[in-house]
Subunit: 344 residues, 2 copies
Amino acid sequence: MYGAGDVRVETVPDPVIQQPTDAIVRAVRACVCGSDLHPYHSMPSAEHGAAMGHELIGVVEEIGAAVTTVRKGDFVIVPFAFSDNTCPFCREGVQTSCPHGGFFGPASGSGLQAELARVPQADGTLVVVPDLDPASASEPLLASLLTLSDVYLTGYHAAHMGRVASGKTVTVIGDGAVGLSAVLASSRLGAERIILMGRHASRTDLGVAWGATDIVAERGEEGIAKVMDLTGGEGSHVVLEAVGHLPACEQAYGVVRAGGVISRVGVPQYEAAPIGFGSLFGKNATLTGGPAPVRAYLEPAIRQVLEGEIDSGRVFDHTVGIDDVADGYASMDARETLKVMIGF
Amino acid sequence: MYGAGDVRVETVPDPVIQQPTDAIVRAVRACVCGSDLHPYHSMPSAEHGAAMGHELIGVVEEIGAAVTTVRKGDFVIVPFAFSDNTCPFCREGVQTSCPHGGFFGPASGSGLQAELARVPQADGTLVVVPDLDPASASEPLLASLLTLSDVYLTGYHAAHMGRVASGKTVTVIGDGAVGLSAVLASSRLGAERIILMGRHASRTDLGVAWGATDIVAERGEEGIAKVMDLTGGEGSHVVLEAVGHLPACEQAYGVVRAGGVISRVGVPQYEAAPIGFGSLFGKNATLTGGPAPVRAYLEPAIRQVLEGEIDSGRVFDHTVGIDDVADGYASMDARETLKVMIGF
């Protein structure tokens, strides 16, 4: 990406092993993330492009001398953050804060919207999909596995941190792919009622298929009033905020029940926000969330996909080849597509 | 209170039963709260005074026709918020959000720095101290019981919401009576290490007596660096913020560990604060806390005081008579005293 709206596909030198803990992975499927649209809107023009992409499933092509848990030919999930998975933070399940880790994409210079990718900390980062040949796997299965790289497990992280459980009313703000994933995760965690705030019928329909019990199309004060009405004036035990803009955050304060939890996974496009007596404190509301430590959740999630328990791949409604990635960004930005897969 | 620094003791008509659910309580001990100092600093001058005080232990003098759980002569704790204790929020342990409840002091017009007080929702609010005659109870026992009206259980609420548990490192910001109470509560909840940030030796000494393992006198960046150093660069699992000013809040972000919890009980003197990627989100830190639902914690806490398990009354280091309450405010404001009790 060279600036807002300026995505170019370029041929660059193949990545090579730089550290003995690296692996090189050949892409099977990658995709475009809602969070990629933030720089797509706001990145200043730059002379040198930023390597984009942080979601990938692929086959290990080469490993560094120190790598022991994956080997050439393994079919793996690449989480959007790499981590050593042995440090105190990783052991506590916060792999996104690993001091030896980092984020794929512009931050690390290793973009995953590419045919080949260098994966640092391969032992800590990559998880093998057992007994599956990607060449013969079905498209829906590959799509669902790809969601484990970020989007589904980000929705799951929201629900997990929000302490969604049976008997709880959950409000999901945002009908993007993460919001819909949060609906699916909440449903699996036993939420009694799931109110999805979104205004695109094609998206909220998938939300309903995944367990949303109520759809609220209104936003702002009107949307808040509608959710309060649906909850008998008491508000929602859990609010999952999957947008990242300040109005969504304020909507969350408006609908959260006293003693409830707001869990954010939309990357905040703001730094300061109301958290004083009138918004968060007076209600004893808890604010939680952050970048999902996908790695912490991968093994059981892979099993759930392989056993057909979750069909999280349904968020993909369009596929482009690597040469047409710019069109993929444009169509997601125009909301013509929900989430774009990249085939190779 | 008639304005900043302007506390007057006045003779007003005795409170009377207004609702059948009311009780009238005669004060045994009351006190001045750190949060009373906020209006003491900032209240605009007013023609009519605000009735101050929200912490009280006393004897029931009269009950309304609908009151069934307390009777004349009962020795009771009055929590700083009244509540019906039957509504959905009360049943979920968030009595401070009871729609039929409210806060003593200026907000409700019922100030507890007084000889007699009207207590709305008496059945839901008052808890009897069993088998104790206040006339023959020891001063330390009365002092500890008085802390259950607010200060100790506010410290406890911070620790409880912060999920303090064995093995955790806890940093307490603020060496006021609430901060010290949070040290005591953290200690009882099994915290492995308790770092108290405060610069008044007479106060931090009590913190050490109650289980603080480290004292950090520095503030701001210097204080943050000290705590990070003490925690091997990793930060504190739990941060209990018992001040309420923005710098304390920013200090909390600075020392919280990735995946950790900041629990606030200092009444925020700000509305907006940093909560974006650089402060809270990036670290997956959780922000929680609010006005303590003291009522939810009262029964076990009364037992703990009566059995001598907690000596939370040690926060009181000065007692005044009702006529000298203005001196009490002044001495707390000047930090000559930690917390001032009012005798009757």
